[in-house]
Symmetry: C2
Subunit: 313 residues, 2 copies
DNA sequence: GCGTCCATGAAGGCAACCTACAAGGAAGTG
DNA sequence: CACTTCCTTGTAGGTTGCCTTCATGGACGC
C-alpha cells in the first residue's frame, strides 16, 4: 500500500526505547557519571544522548541541574517509569527465548548479607549444580536502606527486613520473602537459663548482654525486653559481627540476641526463644523487575525459596 | 561498583528490541521486500539486519527459504510474538507521554468499508473537530479475510463480520465491536408488503429478489429465508453495490436484503425486518495491539463507539 | 526456457555515536 | 575566601554501524 511516513504532522516527541532505557538507568543510578560507568561510556556520551533524547521528545526538559549533579524532571520520571516497563517486557521476551533454547543458562550475580548467605547459599549451590546457571555471589554487609543501590549492579540482593516481609524503600523493586527467622537469646550451653525451654524477659535482664551498636535493628528486641521487664538491660559491649558475639557468649555468662537459623548451634552455645516476644527478621530477596523476568534469575530465586523451606522444615 | 560486562559466559542470544521489531514486521507483512517498503529501506538492508539478528541470537535460523520468498521458523515466530508485546509496551509509554503533553494529537489513519463509513464517519468527524486529532480515512471494499492485511498500514480498520462481533482471522489483533446492524428486507415504499410492520419468510419468497453474488455474506439471509419458507428464492440479479440495489428496488416490485442503518430510508424505499430471523452484521474495528495503545487512536475509537450509539439510539 | 519476482551478497558512503580534551559551576575544606 | 574536588556540558575528531547501489542466483509461471 501507500507505505508513507509513519506519522504525519508534528511528529516530534516520539519515544524511543533507547532513550527510555537511558532515563531508567539515570533514575536508578542518580548521576550521569554513574550511568556512564555502568554502560561503559564516557559521561560526555551520556550527556549527549540526554540532549538528543530531549530534542526528539519535543524539547521538554527531562533533567535539571540539582546541586553538583542533575535530577530528573517530572517528565523525565514519567519516561523513566516507561523505561522500566519496557525493560521488563524485553526481559520477558528474553526469558521465553531462553526457555525455547533449552532452559536457563548464564550468570546470575547475587549480593547477600553474610548471615543470610550462611543459611541459604549451601542449599542454593547444591540445587544449581546440575543446571547451566552460574551463580556469582558476593557477601556484603549493608544496611536495609542501601539495598536499592545494590540492585542496579546485581541480579538478586538478599537482605533482611525487621519491619515485615517487604523492606523499606522498595519503590519500583520486586521483593520476595524467603524466610522468617526468629530472634532468640543465645547463651552458653551450660548456662543456668539453658535449662528452660523458653526464657522470659524477666529472666534475661538479670544477665549482662552483648549488644549491637545503638540503632541497629537487632537492638529492637533489647528494647522490647526492657519494656516488658521494666528494667534496663546491662549491655557490656556493642559489637556487630555475629560470629564474634557467639564466641564471646560461649565463653561467659553473658547473653546476646542472635538469629535462630544462622547461629551455629552445638559449639557450646544454646538458643532460647523469649516468651511472648515474636521478634524476627525477614530474609528477603530484592530484584529489579526486569531482572526478575530472566529465566536464570528465576531459577536461582526458586533455589533460594527451596533452600529456605529446608531451613524451617 | 564493579561495572563489568553485563553478562558473562555465552552471552550470545541476547534479544534486541530492534531485531524483535524487525521480526514482528516480517511476520505481519510476510516478505523481506514488503518490510523494506514499509520501513523505507532497501530489501538488502532488511536482509542484512536479519542476518545480524540471527548471528546475535546464537545462530539459530530465524527465517528459512519458502518458495520465492522466506518464512519465519518456529524460533522466528516466537521472537516475532515478543516483538508484538514490545511494540505494545512502547505504544503504552507513548500514550502516557501524549497524555502528559496534553491529550491526544497526531494523525490517525483509518480504512473503512463504505457502508460502515456512511453510518459512522459523519458522527466521528463531528466529534473530532475540537480535538488535535487528524483523521485520515479511506474507504475500501474488501472481504472479511483481507482485514488483517490492512491493519499493517492503517491504525484502524472498520469492517463487518457476519459470524459475530469478532471477525474471522483476527489472530494477534485487537477487535472492538461497534454496532450490530440488522439485515432487513428492502422494498418500494408503496409495495404491498410495506403495509406490514414485519414480514415473514413466506411473504418474501413470493417476490423476486435482487441478490448478491454467491458466497457473499449477505446471501446467508437468503439461505435462511429459503430454509424457513421451504421454497427457493428467485434471484433475478446478483449485484454488489448497495446504492445500485436501492435504486433498483425503488423502481420495481422486487425486494432485496439491505442493512438497516446504512440504507437511506425515505427515498421511496422501505425496510422491514423478517419475522423470526435475527440476521445481522457486526460493524467492528480491527487494530494492531500496539496501535490500539496510542492516545489519538483511542480517541478515534471512542468517537466511533459514540457515533455507533447515536445510530441505534 | 525465458522473464519476473524475490532474496542475498560485496563495496562504498554517510550519519550516528563515542572518545578525548577542555571549560564551567557547585559543594566542601582549610 | 581561595582552593580542591566532583559533576556536567561542550567541541573536535575518529570509528562503527547502517544503509544504498549494483550484481548474482534461485524459484515460479508462461
Amino acid at each position: 500500500m501507500d507505505a508513507e511516513p509513519r506519522r504525519r504532522g508534528h511528529d516530534l516527541s516520539r519515544v524511543d526505547p533507547r532513550h527510555l532505557d537511558l532515563l531508567r538507568e539515570l533514575a536508578d543510578r542518580g548521576s550521569v557519571t554513574a550511568v556512564a560507568e555502568a554502560t561503559h561510556r564516557t559521561p560526555s556520551a551520556v550527556s549527549q544522548q540526554l540532549r538528543t533524547a530531549q530534542r526528539e521528545l519535543g524539547g521538554i526538559p527531562l533533567v535539571e541541574p540539582h546541586g553538583r549533579g542533575v535530577r530528573l524532571t517530572e517528565a523525565g520520571l514519567l519516561l523513566a517509569d516507561g523505561g522500566r516497563d519496557l525493560a521488563r517486557a524485553v526481559a520477558q521476551v528474553q526469558a521465553r527465548w531462553d526457555e525455547y533454547l533449552g532452559s536457563a543458562s548464564g550468570t546470575v550475580r547475587m549480593a547477600a548479607l553474610p548471615s543470610a548467605a550462611t543459611i541459604l547459599l549451601p542449599g542454593v549451590l547444591d540445587r544449581l549444580t546440575d543446571t547451566a546457571v552460574h551463580l556469582e555471589c558476593i557477601d556484603v554487609d549493608i544496611a536495609e536502606s542501601e539495598y536499592s543501590g545494590m540492585v542496579a549492579d546485581h541480579d538478586i540482593v538478599v537482605g533482611h527486613s525487621f519491619t515485615g516481609p517487604v523492606p523499606a524503600g522498595a519503590g519500583h523493586l520486586v521483593t520476595a520473602a524467603l524466610l522468617r527467622e526468629p530472634l532468640d537469646i543465645a547463651m552458653r550451653a551450660d548456662h543456668a537459663l539453658a535449662a528452660k525451654a523458653r526464657v522470659t524477659a524477666r529472666d534475661v535482664v538479670r544477665h549482662e548482654w552483648y549488644g549491637v551498636p545503638l540503632g541497629y535493628p537487632f537492638d529492637d528486641l533489647r528494647i522490647a525486653v526492657e519494656t516488658a521487664a521494666g528494667t534496663p538491660v546491662r549491655v557490656v559491649q556493642r559489637l556487630r559481627d555475629n560470629r564474634l558475639i557467639e564466641a564471646l557468649v560461649a565463653a561467659s555468662d553473658r547473653v546476646a540476641v542472635l538469629p535462630r537459623y544462622s547461629t551455629t548451634p552445638g559449639a557450646g552455645l544454646t538458643l532460647r526463644p523469649v516468651h511472648g516476644m515474636d521478634a524476627a527478621r525477614w530474609i528477603v530477596a530484592i530484584l529489579r523487575p526486569d531482572r526478575a523476568e530472566r529465566l536464570a534469575v528465576r531459577t536461582v530465586l526458586d533455589a533460594l525459596r527451596a533452600a529456605a523451606r529446608d531451613v524451617v522444615g
